[in-house]
Subunit: 193 residues, 2 copies
């Protein structure tokens, strides 16, 4: 076989893989129970092509989750967490909100299809960044140190997920969500008076 015939085939396979992963990311984000059939349809490929690249749903979900984690790390790396802790927390929350809302359904799908370890990883790195900033803000007296850091982290995750669910229910809009999340968390970290 000459390169002339294999290269287009490889390029074709690569395009199909990208289309499948992209379709799976979109569908699973909206519905964690999205089927392989629906994903193939959305990607514009046949069942045989889909299962040729991803022999089972968990294999595909693992790839989608790995990419979501990589994308999340990349996006959070771009956030400036220096300077005033409250302003830094606002920047970090707005970025994290976007990722939570975009990838929330994928975390649910991964929870159902993959081992707990694979899922824990999705939260660890974002949580580590929030924790570091939280600790700095507590030391500087900007955030209250009268509650355990663990509890404050739990509260922040709960508010982020609650906002995503509220957008899905139509209670608030995706445009309102980042400022509501940010105002609510900053207030929760700053006791009255």
């Amino acid at each position: 076989m000459s390169t002339a015939t294999t290269t287009p085939k490889r390029a074709d396979a690569r395009r199909n893989i990208e289309a499948i992963v992209e379709a799976a990311t979109t569908l699973l984000a909206a519905d964690p129970d999205a089927s392989m059939l629906a994903i193939a349809k959305e990607a514009g490929v046949g069942r045989v092509t889909l299962y040729g690249h991803f022999p089972s749903r968990p294999v595909l979900i693992a790839e989608v989750a790995a990419r979501a984690i990589a994308h999340t790390d990349h996006a959070l790396n771009a956030v400036d967490t220096d300077g005033d802790p409250r302003e830094a927390m606002e920047r970090l929350l707005v970025a994290t909100w976007g990722l939570t809302h975009r990838f929330g359904g994928i975390v649910v799908a991964a929870n159902q299809a993959l081992a707990p370890d694979a899922v824990r990883q999705a939260h660890e790195e974002p949580a580590r960044r929030v924790r570091m900033l939280l600790e700095r803000g507590r030391e500087q007296g900007e955030f209250t140190a009268s509650m355990p850091v663990e509890w404050q982290l739990t509260t922040i995750q709960a508010v982020l997920h609650a906002a995503s669910a509220a957008v899905h229910r139509g209670e608030i809009t995706a445009e309102q969500a980042p400022s509501l999340v940010s105002a609510t968390v900053i207030a929760a970290l700053t006791p009255p008076g």
Copy 2:
């Protein structure tokens, strides 16, 4: 049949029903997937007795949920929601926390086994009380009115459920939870400055 022979039988049936419902409440609160077999064992009754009174798991769960809702209404009715809105909110949150933590697993079990309407009811009445107090506090300027009431309600529910999950994970103790929930929610409702 004389009353002398039927009364002990009826009393026996009543005792069994109470034992089954009590066992189901305890087991489902800790594990929403608790089986009928485990419930019968905990209640100290046989399979035949259990299924004689509750022909299916959903029937039993419906009874457990109905009693949890009645108990919740009764407990929340006893809370004084008059006076200073912050103090009233603290009292209401501490009472609601206890019920969320005690009946949380039952809500999950009901979610899986019953129609959505039956489950919505479990949250409606407690939510109505919090909303009324929230609106009064906003009008009096004690709670911020710069966020939608719906979002504030969502935040409160998210913090309550997060606290219950954190206790189950061993992150915080059941003794710490009520004051953390209350301090976090009051802070979230009161913007800094």
